[in-house]
Symmetry: C2
């Protein structure tokens, strides 16, 4: 069945398509009867205004892109969920692309979004991705999430202030008597990686047992990376506690720990990153660094749906919190 357009309705009613257009937008310059007739017929035929035509004319489409490494990690899932709801409330649509932290996938996703003329993109920049997310993407507002592609990318960013929480995590472990505390986190390729590692080192120094280098593992953050390093740390048996600096890393490390526990029963103290619901149920509750997802998502939705794109590269930062269980 061919698309129902204002012309369909116009012919149907024997008026010009302009009259229909006016009637549908409740322009006063139409006979009341005509207007009602048009509305009625439109409803009957199931007419919907083509946003495509509107966009071609110059309206900016109420479409935003969201680029995440994945959506299985509960943090990203929650973020996407909340942001989608907030956008929906403003009649914005969200196109989600998963990058798996791969720069090529990231670039492709950005291109596809430009094709549909998405107004803005919220993205967790992939490590090693384009430093300047394509000059050409000047047409889209790019908002960086959690990490920054480069400290001076000039894009607005929504960040997490987690250094104090990481510091507190180390202190907490120290208070419990731990002296051999390992750390797994992103490498200094990522702005977030730098900050977290720094905070960890500061924490150990403050607690009086400067971290030994062989207890510090960094690299490109991923579930597997976290799992591998945790396995190694467990095998070495040197560390008595482990702090994670990344969502995926935390889950990966945890899976290694749970596996080991199933076999041997013992375990090491663990401080996770992010707070998926099940962390509260494992081992009578896992201590973890909780990131304020809702706030982040709401901020993102705000920035996306507000038409005034922040000219200044505004950065907002939200406070993470150590949840002790």
């Amino acid at each position: 069945m061919a698309r129902v357009t204002i012309k369909t309705i116009a012919q149907d009613l024997g008026v010009s398509h302009m009259t229909v257009s006016r009637a549908l937008s409740d322009n006063p310059n139409v006979q009341k009867e005509t207007r009602e007739a048009v509305h009625k017929r439109a409803r009957e035929l199931g007419y919907v205004k083509s946003s495509v035509a509107m966009v071609l004319r110059g309206d900016s489409p109420r479409i935003a892109g969201l680029l995440l490494p994945n959506i299985v990690n509960e943090f990203y899932a929650r973020f996407a969920n909340e942001m989608a709801l907030a956008c929906e409330a403003q009649s914005w649509q969200l196109i989600i692309h998963l990058t798996n932290d791969d720069p090529k996938a990231e670039q492709k996703a950005l291109d596809r979004l430009r094709e549909v003329q998405a107004t803005s993109v919220v993205m967790v920049p992939a490590p090693g991705g384009a430093k300047e997310p394509l000059a050409s993407s000047a047409s889209m507002q790019v908002i960086e999430l959690i990490r920054q592609s480069s400290p001076d990318s000039g894009n607005p960013a929504i960040l997490v202030e987690d250094r104090s929480a990481i510091h507190a995590a180390v202190q907490h472990l120290a208070d419990a008597g731990h002296r051999q505390v390992a750390y797994i986190g992103a490498d200094s390729n990522l702005t977030s990686g730098q900050g977290r590692l720094q905070a960890f080192c500061d924490g150990t120094k403050a607690a009086g047992f400067p971290a030994s280098l062989d207890l510090i593992c960094t690299g490109a953050p991923s579930f597997d990376m976290g799992r591998r390093h945790a396995q190694r740390i467990l095998a070495q048996g040197q560390a008595t506690a482990l702090v994670c600096g990344g969502f995926e890393i935390s889950n990966g490390a945890l899976s290694a720990i749970m596996d080991a526990k199933a076999e041997q029963g013992d375990g090491i103290a663990f401080v996770g990153y992010g707070d998926p619901s099940f962390y509260a149920w494992l081992d009578r509750g896992l201590t973890t660094i909780q990131v304020p997802v809702t706030q982040l998502a709401q901020r993102a939705a705000e920035m996306v749906t507000s038409t005034h794109r922040s000219d200044e590269s505004k950065q907002s930062s939200f406070l993470a919190q150590l949840i002790i269980r």
Copy 2:
């Protein structure tokens, strides 16, 4: 900065926009030099073809909609994740809308998708939603997921054959000596609810202890609903085991059980629905009904990206499996 179009390039190079169009699509009817010059300039200016213009002309946009109750539940998250990846591989974009199982949100989402001329939608129909998802949506191919808005909706559907798994779950509990087995699931408002409840009842009959009605709880499926009913069941203390028939219900019931366990230490045998990663870690592993997410998602992506819309209301069904832990 104004959008870069073929006209921009044309003026720039002093040729007609048609030449540019031809050059960009590698039409042989252009001087080699011209073609190369055009390509070069296009790259420099960061030109991207407007899919909006193409769609207006008649191309169908490679955009599909995905309507899910939420995306926090790990099953839905995994589904969305896998489907998004599969779509990406085919250069399709996915617009995700969250309905929270609310018919009004569902209807709105469908309208928005029609506005952007989405080609097809994969949706978990909300309970009580439009029986015929809007005749007018004839323009979009609607694919129902997991449940059907009505048995004879006539839409293609991707379903889960979980009756044998539910049956097996009851048998498993019976083998372990349980006789008072409770069930929480969707009501008969949903096609999936009917089937699961039926399978549960059949199972208890086969096991020799027909389910007593006060151990059977049904209603609109949600986390809260699962949680409330589980709390009540625990408080009554009659049942020694509980089977869940729904993703959200399962997580809700589980949260009630974990809370109770934290307080009293005892618990009842539990068979979940869906298999989020952490089920394996709780209580040395939760027995659960595992739904083949990947298969479902891949099938969905296939149907969406294949241009030949299945005229016949094809239904595919994938087998769920009882995972005993």
